[in-house]
C-alpha cells in the first residue's frame, strides 16, 4: 500500500493504493490522524486504487470520521469499487461518510 496526500481547495485528498488491511491500516491511520492534528477539517479519501479493505481498514476510517465530525468537519469517500462498496454496505457504516462517485464530485459539494 502507499499513500499520497495532496491539498485541494478546502480539503486534503488522501489517495490510497493497494490493500487496506491489518498490516497496512496503521500507516493509513497515522496519515489521517496526522492531517487532522495538523488542522484538516475535510478529508477526501480516494479509493480508486484500493482493491481490498478489511475491518482494520474500516476502523481507521471510522476513527478519522469521528474525529473530523467532532471538530465540525467531515470525511468523504470517492471511487469505491464494488467490493469496497459492499464492505461499507454490509457493515452499515456508509452513513458515517459522505460517499461520492468521483473525486470532482467529492470536492464540488460544500
Amino acid at each position: 500500500m502507499d499513500i499520497t496526500i495532496e491539498a485541494a481547495a478546502g480539503a486534503e485528498i488522501v489517495a490510497v493504493r493497494g490493500s487496506l488491511d491489518t498490516n497496512t491500516a496503521p500507516e493509513a491511520g497515522e496519515a489521517l490522524i496526522g492531517l487532522i492534528n495538523g488542522g484538516a477539517k475535510r478529508i477526501v479519501a480516494d479509493f480508486e486504487h484500493v482493491d481490498y479493505i478489511s475491518s482494520a481498514g474500516l476502523r481507521v476510517l471510522l476513527v478519522a470520521a469521528k474525529r473530523l465530525r467532532a471538530g465540525g468537519g467531515d470525511m468523504r469517500l470517492c471511487n469505491l469499487n464494488p467490493f469496497v462498496q459492499e464492505v461499507f454496505d454490509i457493515s452499515g457504516f456508509g452513513v458515517m461518510f459522505s460517499v461520492f462517485d468521483t473525486r470532482d464530485a467529492a470536492l464540488a459539494q460544500s
Partner: protein
C-alpha cells in the same frame, strides 16, 4: 562492571594487565581477576558467577587452557573465552575454537589488540544477553496470548443445544493470532431460543477484550428476552461508550419461537445468513438490521421475521469462511458456500458446521489462515 578472569601461570601477566588497563580499572569500567591454571580458574568461577570473560593461556600445570575451555560450557555457558596462544600455533587455536572459544590473541601480547578484543567480546556478550531477554519476553507474551485464545474458546458453548422444535450446532477454527469471532446460543425460556454469531474488528489482545465484553453483553441482554432489534440497540449503546479506537463488532442475533417456527432477527453489519428450505432452495436472509455495533451511538435497528418451517436449516457464518483464500489468492466465496450448504441437506447441525469448516480449510490448502472461520447451524427438525 564487566569482570574478566585472566588465567596464566606466569605472574608477569598480572602485573602487565594491571598496568595496561589501569585507567579503565580505576574508572570502574573493568574488573580483573587472576588464576594460575585451569583448576584454579574453575574454583574461582564457583564463587564468582558474574564473570563475563575468560582470557586463558594454553600451556599450564594442573589443568591446561584447552581443558578449561572444554569445561566452561558446562560450568558457565554464557562466559566468553579468549585464548592466548603462541604465534602460528594453528592446531591449538583450532582446538580451542572447536571447544567454544570466542576469539584468540597471540604471544607476545599486543595490548592494543587485546583491548580491542576485550571490547569486542564484551559488546558481543551484551548483545547476546539482550537477545536472551527479548526472547524470554517474547516467549512469555506468546504464552499469555495462548492463554487468552484458550479462554476465548472456553467461554463459547462447547456442546450442541437441542430441544423440542430446534437443534443448534456450531464450529470455530481460530486463526493463529487471537482474534474476535464468537458465537452463542441459549434457551431464553421454554419456548424461545436465542442464537448469535459475531465478528470483532481487528486482532490481538484489544480484539480479545472487546470480544469478551460483547459476548457478555449479548448473553445478558439476550437472556432478558428482549426482541432482537431492541437487544442490539442496547448492546450498541453500551459498546459505544468510551470507544475512541472505534473497535466494532458485527452481530447477527436471532430468536426462534420453537413451537411456531417464528424466527425474529436483527442483523448489525454482519454477512446475511443463508436459509435452506426443506425442499433444498437456498437464499440469503433478507438484510434487516443496522450498522455494526460500537461506533454509532444513536444508531437505530430494524428487525424482520421469517417463517422457519420443519426441515428448514439456517447457516450463520463469519467472513473468515467466504474470505478464506487459497494459495493463488482466490477466496472461497459465497456461491461455493451456498452450493455446499444446499448439498448437505438436512444433516445434523453440528455435522453441517463441521463439514463446512473442513471444506473451507481444504480450500485454503497451504495458504495461511488469516481469520477465524466460524459457522453456526440452526435446524427445525421434521417432527
Amino acid at each position: 562492571m564487566p569482570s574478566i578472569l585472566v588465567v596464566d601461570d606466569e605472574p608477569d601477566l598480572e602485573i602487565l594487565v594491571r598496568q595496561k588497563f589501569r585507567r579503565r580499572i580505576r574508572a570502574g569500567e573493568l574488573e580483573f581477576l587472576f588464576a594460575q591454571n585451569g583448576a584454579e580458574a574453575l574454583e574461582q568461577l564457583q564463587t564468582r558467577r558474574d564473570v563475563d570473560m575468560v582470557l586463558s593461556d594454553i600451556n599450564m600445570p594442573v589443568m591446561d587452557g584447552l581443558t578449561l575451555i572444554g569445561q566452561l560450557r558446562d560450568v558457565a555457558p554464557m562466559i566468553k573465552a579468549v585464548v592466548v596462544s603462541a604465534y602460528g600455533d594453528m592446531e591449538n587455536i583450532r582446538t580451542a575454537m572447536n571447544r567454544g572459544a570466542f576469539d584468540f590473541v597471540t604471544k607476545p601480547i599486543d595490548f592494543d589488540d587485546l583491548e580491542l578484543t576485550v571490547t569486542r567480546t564484551l559488546a558481543h556478550l551484551e548483545m547476546l544477553r539482550e537477545a536472551v531477554t527479548s526472547r524470554e519476553q517474547l516467549v512469555a507474551l506468546r504464552r499469555e496470548l495462548d492463554v487468552a485464545a484458550r479462554m476465548q474458546a472456553q467461554i463459547l458453548p462447547g456442546k450442541p443445544l437441542a430441544g423440542p422444535g430446534f437443534q443448534i450446532g456450531a464450529q470455530m477454527t481460530p486463526a493463529k493470532e487471537v482474534g474476535g469471532d464468537f458465537y452463542d446460543y441459549f434457551q431464553i425460556d421454554e419456548n424461545r431460543v436465542g442464537f448469535v454469531i459475531a465478528d470483532v474488528s481487528g486482532k490481538g489482545v484489544p480484539a480479545a477484550i472487546f470480544m469478551a465484553v460483547s459476548y457478555t453483553l449479548m448473553r445478558a441482554r439476550g437472556m432478558d428476552g428482549l426482541a432482537p432489534a431492541k437487544c442490539l440497540e442496547l448492546v450498541n449503546a453500551a459498546l459505544c461508550r468510551d470507544n475512541d479506537e472505534a473497535m466494532f463488532v458485527s452481530v447477527f442475533y436471532g430468536v426462534l419461537e420453537t413451537s411456531t417456527g417464528k424466527l425474529a432477527y436483527c442483523n448489525a453489519g454482519h454477512n446475511p445468513p443463508i436459509l435452506r428450505r426443506a425442499n433444498g432452495d437456498v437464499s440469503p436472509l433478507e438484510d434487516k438490521g443496522g450498522p455494526a455495533l460500537g461506533v454509532i451511538d444513536d444508531a437505530t435497528f430494524d428487525q424482520a421475521t421469517v417463517d422457519f418451517q420443519p426441515g428448514d436449516t439456517l447457516l450463520l457464518y463469519t467472513d473468515g469462511v467466504t474470505e478464506a483464500f487459497d494459495e493463488t489468492g482466490e477466496p472461497y466465496g459465497e456461491s461455493a458456500l451456498m452450493d455446499v450448504f444446499k448439498r448437505l441437506g438436512s444433516a445434523d447441525p453440528l455435522a453441517v458446521a463441521e463439514t463446512i469448516e473442513t471444506v473451507v480449510i481444504d480450500h485454503t490448502g497451504d495458504a495461511e489462515q488469516h481469520d477465524d472461520i466460524t459457522t453456526l447451524v440452526l435446524r427445525r427438525p421434521l417432527d
